[in-house]
Amino acid sequence: MRDLLAALTELREHLKEIPQAGERRLQDLKTEILGRKAGALTKILATLPRLEPADRKEVGAAANALKQEFEAALEARARELKRAAGDVARLDLTMPGRARWHGGLHIVTQVVDEICEIFHELGFTRAVGPEAETEWYNFGALNFPKDHPAIDAQDSFYLDAGKGEGEGEGYLLRTHTSPVQVRTMKRYPPPIRVVSPGQCYRRDPFDASHSPVFEQIEGLVVDEGTSFVDLKTTLSQWARKFFGPETRTRFAPSYFPFTEPSADMQVSCSVCGGAGCATCKQTGWIEILGSGMVHPAVFENCGIDSERYTGFAFGMGPHRIAMARHGIPDIRLFFESDVRFLAQFAGGAP
């Protein structure tokens, strides 16, 4: 019992320390003395039940009194420190704040989401399909003539799977997300309003402006009475929401086997406003997407009455759109995954 009282006296010494303690020391003292598990005073209090009743009373009274003193002193000092912390003169408020790690979405994902969100407002839902496709879904159903130069622009990776090439049963990595059009039309009745984002593959070299892998967003609308005016208007609406309300659009004839008439949409250059600059190669216009009225042969391949229904389709490349909008000079940067690059578009430091 003598030991215990001596220990209490020793602990009492620490009381003197409290009024000068800094924030960290104060925390340490609190743990050392009153800590729930290993606090010195806590331990003494824990021995009380094992003491003789008389001793228990004496030690208990002393210990509890000390405990209250400590609690009061600690609290007083904590309040004081808190006040001092509010004292601007003593703090250098230019010192850096305490950071946490940031994460973020890839810029291509952000662009895809932004594009799809605008189409969502225009009544489109999202549809997806497999990346390994059969030749029939990728080419045949989409009215690509066999052995025709139209296929040259879509040089494909063939997979060692399925029944082999020919007769549309060979497997390849889809060269566009257009097969999702076919899958959607075969599964759902009109009216159809979908966008399908996804990864596509072409047998292109990997250089500053080409990648064998790229993202595409394709859209499809099918209904009675859907016309070329709907195509132009829907896509122009989207462009004004995505690139800004001042954006002008223009359409030029193009060629895709699965649409007729086919059209490329260009938007006025957002960098120079149409006056001509390096981004738009001095033309004032940037080509953004390909589109067209769904070819009746595609409807027929999907079991849709091409006399009753008409529709339009379009496709665009989020990588290229991101490059144009953010001034990214090399498509390979998207795949390098340098954390400094990723952080730039996630709004935080790496």
Binding site: K37, P96, R98, R100, W101, G103, G104, L105, H106, V108, T109, D113, G123, T125, R126, A132, T134, K146, D147, H148, A150, L159, D160, A161, G162, Y171, Y188, P190, P191, I192, V194, R203, F206, P212, V213, G225, S227, F228, V229, T233, S236, T249, R250, F251, A252, P253, Y255, S262, D264, M293, P296, T310, F334, S337, D338, V339, R340, A343, A346, P350
Partner: protein, 801 residues
């Protein structure tokens, strides 16, 4: 396709502005890629006449010329050319003239072998007008001395480079583009007269060609046999005798140079001219070198050989059509001729071929031979089967005009199965319905007629005859595009019309991916997108049959190897703190033979470096992430991506965890330390990957917030070897019952006071009864019951002291 502005101007008989052309062609469907001015650097060159030629006093090979360059008095010029003659005119660069070729230098007065030369007379090469450097360029022009060279000689031009889509072979020549421009400008296309010097002998007595539906015929002593009707539906041949093959006249050379072709000789240049003017590839071959003399159009034999013009020996197959003489192939049909039968300076008699080859056949041939030419490019896209006689006639006129010679018999035209223009019926109301605005019948007729369609009314429809140069127009919608295109896409209004909502629901996997992305980004990870092609990753990897390289011969079976590669890339850039995740498709071989590959969406992450950013208040060094950071992220990933899985320690002894499906017990995910090619300063690398599930999570139900106070207890337990914390927790929970609200591990200790091989693990227990205040004693009872259970079941005791 490269166009010459002047060539188009000659056809349309009007001046064209390159900028205006750019807009018009783009809106007609042939976007302009580039406009290249030609020879505009010759502005300082003038026409000069040599008045007198004397020997240079100090050099045998030099002459001293008195030159009238339009100035007040003649100037003296030193000239080294052997062909300089008094009385003739030459291009002249005076002192101070800017020399062509982009060097930017100005010509200075200088002494040549002691005599001062005032400027220079120029060769074709010096002006960038050809390769000829043997003498100065003699000018045959009425222009007065001093006239600007560019005014006297029409070499200034613009190359207009257009992009031609695969469906429009008709735009691969000047006539086709001029036709489109004529429709846009309200002009008329007329082929320019061939400048001939002497009058071209009229061809009427040997025209039209001798058309046969037979497969065999003879023209001027040459037998022509068409054996491969499938590969060659129509074959025309003319024999021209007595040609003199030499260099082409300036106008012809200028036309070809302007479209990027090198002039070769009169006959070859004439055929190339027709190619770029009318889109009809032609082939002229030397009759003297033709065995028979016969021309046989047949499938090549197996392994038949031919040395093509480029000097390469090529092996043919029966899948290819060959133009042969009586013995062997002389031309790979539609692709390239042989070196042997080539027309050269010694040729006097020639056979001129004008053919239509089946597009697919040419495509396969040029792919097999890896040999693409101007001819194969056009045949592959389909040339004008019906325009061949006109093209051949113009070619003959041109050859006779520039190389002389005589056509003694009408050309032969072997066409076993003649066809006519295709007719398509078009309903005007279909045009209006598809385009969304009313289009008058008369306007449809006018627009289609403007580019060569022949339109006749037929009941309530229009019967539209498609010209031979438009193989792409096959259905009514193709005509609708013509109407829209010629009317101008930008004339259609921009007005939002009502639409019906679609029947297709949003794909659930898209929202699943978005949810996982959001959670992982919030946890401090950056989303990466890696290349999904790489080396084989195990026996189940799906191979690519035609990879670009051996390193990228498979599609990925997992995301982690790609992410590890990206970590190494970051290390190479001195980035130490790397936290990446990816959501992407992975593939594996299908189980059954002949089945397609299996694919699914996978979620993976890699972690290395400091646990959090350093802060000055805490000193310099921040601890690096370890397996416990990994476990947290894996549990997070599994919770959001694969909620039907539990995280369990991996079997097999190595450090790591698995995500095990609760129903099937199948492992659908893994996490653990990874090996990588790490620099010495790098921290340990950890990775995780789990298969994304698409599950519909019901809305989170609200649980009432507790109103009663908790009672808390800490217990330190000594766990013998082999007893896991999870096992102890489970028994504690079961034994303590529902009033034990939370159970958290807060400490682990090994060492003094704990038996060797054992460890002390401490739990913080929170008890609460939602409906009433718990009494201390109740809690003590619950706790001791729980402690007894772990002691009985697991041999775990409370730590002493």
């Amino acid at each position: 396709m490269i166009l010459s502005r002047r060539w188009l101007e000659a056809m349309l008989d009007r001046q064209l502005d390159p900028r205006d052309l750019e807009g018009r062609l783009s809106m007609l469907g042939a976007p302009v890629e580039a406009i290249v001015p030609l020879h505009q650097d010759l502005g300082d060159i003038v026409v000069a006449q040599v008045l007198e030629v004397k020997r240079h006093p100090n050099a045998d090979r030099l002459s001293l010329c008195l030159v009238d360059a339009g100035g007040a008095s003649p100037v003296e010029v030193v000239c080294g050319a052997p062909n300089v003659q008094a009385g003739k005119k030459y291009p002249y660069a005076g002192v101070g003239a800017l020399l062509p070729g982009g060097g930017g230098g100005r010509l200075e007065k200088k002494k040549i072998r002691g005599v001062e030369s005032n400027g220079m007379l120029c060769s074709a090469k010096e002006l960038g007008l050809g390769q000829d450097h043997t003498g100065i360029l003699e000018l045959d022009t009425p222009a007065r001395p001093g006239t600007r060279f560019l005014e006297a000689v029409p070499v200034v031009d613009h190359q207009i480079v257009i992009e031609v889509t695969a469906n429009r072979p008709d735009l691969l020549c000047h006539k086709g583009v001029a036709r489109e421009l004529a429709a846009s400008l309200g002009a008329v296309v007329k082929l320019p007269r061939i400048p001939d010097g002497q009058a071209v002998r009229r061809l009427e007595h040997v025209y039209p060609p001798n058309r046969l539906t037979a497969r065999r015929g003879v023209v001027d002593g040459v037998e022509v046999r068409l054996e491969d009707r499938e590969g060659c539906p129509r074959y025309m041949a003319a024999v021209i005798r007595g040609v003199r093959v030499g260099s082409s006249p300036a106008w012809l050379a200028a036309r070809l140079t302007a479209v990027g072709q090198r002039p070769i000789n009169t006959v070859v240049d004439a055929t190339n001219y027709i190619l770029f003017e009318l889109n009809q590839p032609l082939h002229a071959f030397d009759l003297a070198k033709l065995r028979g003399p016969a021309v046989v159009i047949r499938r090549a034999g197996p392994n038949e050989k031919i040395v093509t013009l480029d000097g390469v020996e090529r092996t043919l197959t029966p899948e290819m059509t060959a133009i042969c003489d009586a013995a062997r192939p002389t031309i790979v049909a539609g692709v390239m001729g042989s070196a042997e039968s080539e027309v050269n300076e010694s040729t006097t008699d020639l056979v001129l071929e004008c053919a239509y080859f089946q597009p697919t056949r040419i495509r396969r041939t040029r792919r097999a031979l890896e040999l693409s030419t101007e001819s194969s490019y056009r045949f592959e896209r389909g040339i004008d089967l019906l325009g061949m006689p006109d093209a051949l006639r113009r070619a003959i006129e041109l050859i006779i005009a520039v190389a002389g010679g005589e056509l003694r018999e009408p050309p032969l035209d072997l066409w076993p199965e003649p066809v006519q223009e295709r007719t398509i019926f078009l309903r005007p109301e279909r045009v209006s319905r598809l385009l969304g605005v009313p289009v008058e019948r008369a306007e449809i007729e006018r627009l289609l007629t403007s580019v060569g369609f022949f339109v006749a009314p037929k009941d309530d429809r229009l019967a539209v005859q498609v010209p031979g140069w438009r193989p792409d127009v096959a259905r009514d919608v193709d005509l609708v595009e013509e109407v829209a295109r010629l009317r101008g896409y930008n004339t259609f209004p921009d007005e939002l019309r009502a639409y019906r909502p679609g029947t297709v629901p949003d794909a659930p996997i898209e929202s699943a991916k978005a949810w996982v992305r959001e959670q992982l980004a919030r946890a401090g990870l950056y989303e990466a997108r890696t290349m999904p092609l790489g080396p084989a990753d195990g026996p189940e990897a799906v191979a690519i049959r035609n990879p670009i390289s051996a390193e990228e011969a498979y599609v990925r079976r997992r995301l982690l190897p790609g992410l590890v590669g990206r970590v190494e890339h970051n290390w190479a850039n001195r980035n130490r703190d790397i936290r990446l995740f990816e959501i992407g498709t992975v593939f594996k071989r299908g189980i059954e033979a002949g089945a397609g590959p299996e694919e699914w969406t996978s979620v993976a992450a890699v972690l290395t470096g400091a646990r959090h950013p350093a802060h000055w208040s805490q000193g310099a060094k921040v601890p690096d992430m370890d397996i416990w950071d990994l476990k947290y992220h894996f549990e997070l990933a599994v919770k959001v991506a694969a909620p039907t899985c539990d995280v369990r320690p991996a079997t097999g002894g190595a450090v790591g965890w698995e995500a095990v499906h609760r129903g099937s017990g199948v492992a659908l995910g893994w996490a653990g330390p990874l090996d990588a090619d790490a620099p010495v300063w790098a921290a340990s690398l950890f990775g995780l990957e789990v298969r994304l599930e698409v599950t519909s999570t019901p809305p989170v139900p609200y649980r009432q917030l507790p109103a009663q106070p908790p009672v808390e207890r800490d217990v330190a337990l000594v766990l013998p070897p082999g007893v896991s914390a999870a096992a102890v927790s489970e028994v504690l929970r079961r034994a303590a019952g529902p009033l034990l609200e939370r159970l958290e591990v807060f400490d682990e200790y090994r060492g003094a006071g704990v038996p060797a091989g054992h460890r002390s693990v401490a739990w913080h227990c929170t008890f609460r009864d939602p409906s009433r205040t718990l009494r201390e004693r109740e809690v003590d009872e619950l706790l001791s019951r729980a402690l007894k259970a772990v002691e009985d079941e697991l041999g775990v005791r409370r730590r002493e002291g």
